[in-house]
């Protein structure tokens, strides 16, 4: 039949039916996905060949072709991986060879102690290369096993560069330490998401230590919910051990009196209102009954974690402008409830960080907040009274705490959010009122009142929900990101001291500073110290990579300070792309190539000279690509003016606080040498002093001891201690030594930059005897502020002269202090920062 005939005949009896009113049945989505057939193993190649090629079955032939293409593609991919893995192996082998050569040159440099040094270095060398051998092995496995891990393998060469740099710069011991630190840093990944602050199982006997002369009066408003109140009081009792306090439980006329329900609790004052006053009036009444210097408003469903009260009080010590201080509020399941509130232009408020991880860096630095919840708020009692207490227009509750915080600012004070004070808040459990039903209404109504009252101020706030990360630091004049090689350890090295003081000066200039270590480490107590100073410390695992952070948040920064060229060079491209508006500052600390070049000259080492040349190229390249370069001395500034004329170079040197109280000559004895031995020039200087200067001193100044102070001393140095030479090692506080010793020495034979040991000594009025390399770029004149000698005997004689001549001593002491004040004080640093901030980012030429 023809298709047309067939079609007509076929259709003839078939009529359309309208769709019925009944709906389609609900079809589970699975019906639209074919489940894989059970036994669908691909056919063997031989079968496909027989069937497709030998027997001519078209479908098999096509399947064979497809399979062959797939196998070829896989083989190609494998080949690529193989070649990549090979080249990584070569890179790693090259690196190892370089390191080995360097170790040999170091061996030459310490000829006399060769035997002991070899023992030392072989042990550290193997410790140092252990992780790298493991990495090489992993690179091979990784490339074979999976392409998805290829990313981390690709990062290896970059990391290797850093490793090589550290090795050249600071030696194998340092590299081993960093590797260990890096691994340790990764292991301590603190997540805050653990339940805490659970309700006590039952009300029992409890004594809350109270003081007759309380520092803090704690006002706990309640309305029933006695088990919560009990849990709150129990946590308070623990805090009372460290702080004299009184606790006033304000029972807002609950059906069962709190005093009755909590009859077993002693040391607490129970006050019961004759009628229900509502939260606001209840709190105000509580305040009138208090006697302490401070008032702490603490909801009865708030549980203070250990040390929270002291942490809140610390802010009043540290911040003269503190008006009110609030805590980090956490839900009982461990999620963050509020890390300081943001109030938007329309008067609505955000619990910043709600639902987040309380351990996340963004919630963990001392910060000005728009408000902190009245669930836990600390103020001076007199100040609270002067503000008129909580405004009763907000009665019975809601927004009174925000309003109070606005009044704090109106009075010229600041509201601080203190993350170190953690409080678990069983939010919404109780309100100290019997009108819980209608509360939602007050929330809306009071927000309107708040808006009306403060709309003039709110005009400067952002629109609701816009850029909360910027809005949380609304007051910041500039936002600065500082990237250092490792965590700042100011008690261990002067580089960290300089960086942390520079950060402090930036903060004094109104900057919000975020800090991150290149290895993303989290190390205590340093992280907590920085946070307490208001620095946002980024770290693993919340920050997974610095590139990632810059990519996500680069637009937030006005200035990015990258420390040391080998760290900086990794991030310039990323910063230019994702933070084009930011000024990129290279902090050289000291010019690495200059220092290495000088070591090479001192040692006459060709290998080191070559190393210095390679370093020169990289460091100078980095300087060229950055917007501003910080050096620590005018000498380095001059060198760069010659060698990199287009670079914008600012002297941002060490910062010292000149000390006015200088103990007199007569009360002092002994000589002090200070230096961290992770810095190779210090090792050289100490060895020089011990071996060549000390013998002269023994005859010139018999009975006078030189104290060698500093962390990470190599064994070879420790072994040199003996008559007139005492090895002290690490001291947590250097100040007593500077006040007790009569003079300080700086026998450095090479190095670049500014010598912290000299300025630090001088800032305490302690005179210094130093070598010529030590005083370079320090604005110091021999005989005026310092004595300079290079020959071991002359050095010893200078020491002896100064040690005995009180008039000379007094002159040098005063002149040294003046020099510090002029060139190395926070005011000097502020000028350098102002000069830096006045510059604009360079635009990269062309797309």
């Amino acid at each position: 039949m023809s298709p047309g005939q067939y079609r007509r005949a076929y259709l003839e009896p078939l009529a359309a039916r309208p769709a019925p009113a009944t709906p389609l049945p609900a079809l589970p989505p699975r019906v639209f996905y074919r489940s894989p057939a059970r036994d669908e193993r691909p056919r063997a190649f031989e079968q496909l060949f027989d069937s497709g090629v030998v027997c001519g079955h078209g479908e098999s032939r096509r399947a064979l072709a497809a399979r062959a293409r797939e196998i070829d593609a896989r083989a190609d991919a494998l080949e690529v991986m193989r070649v990549e893995a090979r080249s990584r192996e070569r890179d790693l082998a090259d690196a190892l060879r370089t390191h080995q050569e360097h170790v040999r040159s170091l061996e030459q440099a310490v000829e006399e102690a060769r035997a002991r040094v070899r023992t030392l270095e072989e042990s550290t060398f193997w410790r140092m290369t252990g992780p790298m051998r493991a990495v090489a092995h992993r690179a091979k496995l990784t490339a074979r096993a999976s392409r998805s891990l290829g990313h981390s393998v690709r990062l290896l060469p970059a990391r290797l560069g850093t490793a090589r740099q550290i090795l050249k710069d600071a030696g194998p011991g340092e590299l081993a330490r960093r590797l260990r630190a890096k691994m340790l840093a990764r292991n301590t990944s603190p997540s805050g998401l653990t339940p805490r602050g659970a309700l006590e199982p039952a009300i029992s006997a409890l004594h809350v230590p109270s003081s007759d002369a309380p520092l803090v009066s704690v006002i706990v408003p309640t309305y029933g919910q006695d088990l919560h109140t009990f849990t709150c009081l129990k946590a308070l009792a623990r805090e009372a051990a460290g702080v004299p306090l009184e606790v006033i439980v304000m029972d807002d006329c609950a059906p069962v009196a709190a005093a009755q329900a909590l009859a077993g609790v002693t040391g607490v004052r129970f006050e019961r209102n004759a009628a229900n006053l509502g939260f606001v009036r209840n709190c105000n009444r509580g305040a009138t009954l208090a006697r302490g210097e401070f008032l702490l408003f603490l909801n009865n469903d708030a549980v203070m974690m250990e040390g929270a009260l002291e942490a809140l009080l610390r802010v009043f010590d540290a911040k003269a402008d503190a008006g009110a201080v609030g805590a980090k509020l956490v839900y009982p399941d461990g999620r963050l409830q509020e890390a300081g509130g943001i109030v938007w232009r329309d008067g609505s408020a955000w619990n910043y960080g709600r639902g987040g991880d309380p351990a996340s860096p963004e919630y963990n630095y001392l910060r000005e907040a728009d408000y902190c919840s009245g669930a836990c708020l600390l103020l001076r009692r007199e100040f609270f009274a002067a503000l008129g207490g909580f405004d009763e227009r907000y009665a019975p509750a809601y927004c009174e705490d925000s309003d109070l915080c606005f009044k704090v600012r109106e009075a010229g004070r600041t509201v601080w959010y203190q993350p170190a004070a953690e409080v678990v808040h069983h939010e919404g459990v109780s309100h100290g009122t019997n009108e819980a039903e209608g509360l939602k209404r007050y929330q809306l109504e009071n927000r309107g009142k708040l808006y009306e009252r403060w709309r003039a101020v709110l005009g400067a706030h952002r629109v609701n929900g816009v850029l909360p990360r910027l809005e949380r630091d609304r007051g910041a004049a500039r936002r600065v990101l500082v990237v250092e090689a490792c965590m700042l350890t100011p008690d261990q090295d002067s580089g960290s001291v300089r960086t942390s003081r520079t950060i402090r000066v930036m903060q004094a200039m109104g900057c919000k500073v975020a800090f991150v270590a290149d290895n993303l480490e989290y190390r205590e107590p340093y992280v907590s110290q920085l946070r307490e100073e208001g620095v946002e410390v980024l770290h693993w695992p919340f920050t997974r990579s610095i590139e990632g952070h810059i990519e996500d948040h680069g637009r937030e920064y006005d200035v990015i300070v990258l420390s040391r060229y080998y760290v900086a060079s990794k991030y310039i491209d990323c910063a230019r792309r994702h933070a084009p508006q930011a000024l990129l500052v290279l902090d050289t600390h000291d010019l690495h190539y200059l220092r290495t070049r000088r070591l090479a000259e001192l040692e006459g080492s060709r290998a080191l000279a070559q190393g210095a040349q390679a370093m020169y190229e990289q460091e100078v390249d980095c300087i060229r690509r950055m917007d501003v370069t910080w050096v620590v001395s005018p000498v380095e500034q001059e060198v760069l003016a010659r060698e990199v004329p287009q670079a914008r170079v600012v002297v941002a040197t060490n910062i010292h606080h000149p000390e006015d109280d200088v103990p007199p000559f007569a009360s002092r004895e002994g000589i002090v040498f200070v230096g961290g031995y992770r810095h190779p020039p210090n090792v050289d200087a100490a060895l020089f002093y011990a071996r060549e200067v000390a013998p002269h001193l023994r005859s010139l100044l018999p009975g006078v001891t030189t104290y060698l102070i500093g962390s990470n001393a190599p064994q070879v140095l420790q072994d040199l201690a003996g008559l007139g030479l005492e090895f002290v090692g690490f001291v947590p506080e250097i100040e007593p030594w500077f006040r007790r010793c009569r003079l300080s020495v700086s026998p450095l034979r090479y190095g670049a930059g500014v010598k912290g040991k000299i300025n630090h000594s001088m800032s305490f009025g302690l005179p210094v005897v130093a070598t010529t390399p030590s005083v370079e770029g320090m604005h110091l004149v021999d005989g005026e502020e310092i004595l300079v000698a290079d020959d071991p005997r002359a050095f010893a004689e200078a020491i002896a002269r100064l040690y005995r001549d009180e008039a000379l001593w007094n002159r040098l002491s005063a002149a040294g202090l003046a020099n510090v004040r002029r060139h190395f004080s926070p005011e000097a640093a502020r000028r350098a920062l102002e000069e830096t901030f006045a510059m604009t980012p360079r635009r990269e030429a062309g797309p």
Binding site: P3, Y6, P13, A15, L24, V31, R34
Partner: protein
Amino acid sequence: MIDVIIPAYRGLAQTRRCLESVLSAPVRAPHEVVVIDDASPEPELSGWLRGLAQEGRITLVTHAANAGFVASVNEGMRLHAGRDVVLLNSDTEVAGDWLDRLAACAAREPQAGTVTPFSNNATIASYPRFAQPNALPRGATPAGLDAAFARANAGRSVDLPTAVGFCMYIARACLEATGPFDEEAFGRGYGEEVDFCLRAAKAGWRHLLAADVFVFHEGEVSFGPGAPAIREKAQRLIDARHPEFQPRLADFIAREPVRPLRRAVDLERLRGDPRPRLLFVTHGWGGGIDKHVRDLARSLEEDAQVLLLRPAGDGGVGLAWLREGEEFEAFFAGGPDWELLVSLLDALALSSVHFHHTHGLPQAVLDLPGRLGVGHDVTLHDYLAVCPQHHLADADGRYCGEPDEAGCEACLALRPPAWPLGIRAWRARFGALLVGARRVIAPSLDIASRHQRHFPGLAPVQWPHPESETGPAKPPVRVLLPGGLAAIKGFAVVEACVRDALARDLPLHFRVLGHLERALPQWPDAPLSITGSYPDGTLDPLIALERGDVVFFPAQVPESFSYTLSAAMRSGLPIVASDLGALPERLRGYAAATLVAPDATAGAMNDALLAAAAR
């Protein structure tokens, strides 16, 4: 207030269609239509836009110089701070209260950063077929499709790995937090929205597909040549910036969570179609039955909607929409899923069930017409109704002679049927189906009469399968090419000759006795076929077997002797050979020889071949 931002550059007709649809759409949400004339090279387009602006119907931003797509979009988005925006390509067409539904989706879903509608041409938001450009289904209009989406998927949405740029709703908060599109990197467009979405996703914003909106998208008009290069560059850039994207996209494509939403629309359209809906039941094999079923469905395309029910492995069945360009398919496992299938078919209000075969299907398939209350047809393709072996073949594949019932039982004992029925029960089951049928269609008298023998009273209609009449083709001239065909043997000449023969529709077929140096299109795509390599010493019989009309030696280098020429000469067939090397020397005196220049054109060679064969 929402800004609908439409960058315009080329194509007055498309832009007009787009804008007219936007301006006439019954949208309730207050919105402003912002058109960016990016220095269009078409004065009519610019003029028309100016006219609209003068009437106050649109806000027009005109560029003096071409700023590029991305810059235009950014400019549009900067225009009114605080407003949500919709970026709409100028080659789209919207319908109904499209904008209200997009905005509703953005408002409904927490953290909604962007919202994308379905479209015919929008990669992962494409319909009917996923991840490929689709024409509008025949007879469908954008408005009709949009209405079907609105009905079938009201209020439903799915998370996407990225929005699709042709029509993209962006919440202002997301835009503020994410920053504008990256003009510098994606200046001419393509990839900028992906980069944006991935940046936004990192900050926790979601990208949603509003499943109740359909926007027509013509696609690829504003790129012109150079598009693939731009696309590739953008792809590389995105991979470098967002290494997580490709795996996430691959995962999305593998999971394809949008599929049920498309299926819901498929069903909505099927139900709403005014034509009869027919269900064809068949087996899972290919062959003649499959051809017949597909041919029949195609011939009914204008008159009916055809659904196909067939086995889907593991005892399950598949239900597919048998129409070019449609993708609908659903799978039902055995057991309770069968009831789901029945209720679905019931809700689709079929006009007929047509049985072609039931191999591989559950027995219950025979009860479908009864359960659905519709008439059914049966086409007899084989003897399944008579015997589970359905070919009437014994174990060795020979005709069994149709023995008595005892003989059949013995046969079934050796080869048990798929349904556990004895021969009598089997025939009773199928007998009822046949007798109850509206029509039993037999393609030949023989098959009709064999069934009548077993089912007395059966009266099949005798309809031979429909076939288009094409007369027998005149056999072409067979050109034999003995020996492996390499470059020096004239591979390129043959390739050109084949192309010429195809282009001029010459009655030539090239037959390579041996193998090709590399792959070429072959019959039926091109008049070329191969025998494959032959063992040494078998060329003479092979030439005899192949029954060639002419033997061709297009050698491109001077041959020294050529054994294959010897074999050709022994065959006595006409020979066409290159006038080069030993060939002319050896062919001197061979009567049926034609010499051609080795570099003669393919046309000349083919003419020589035809002439030689005609001699």
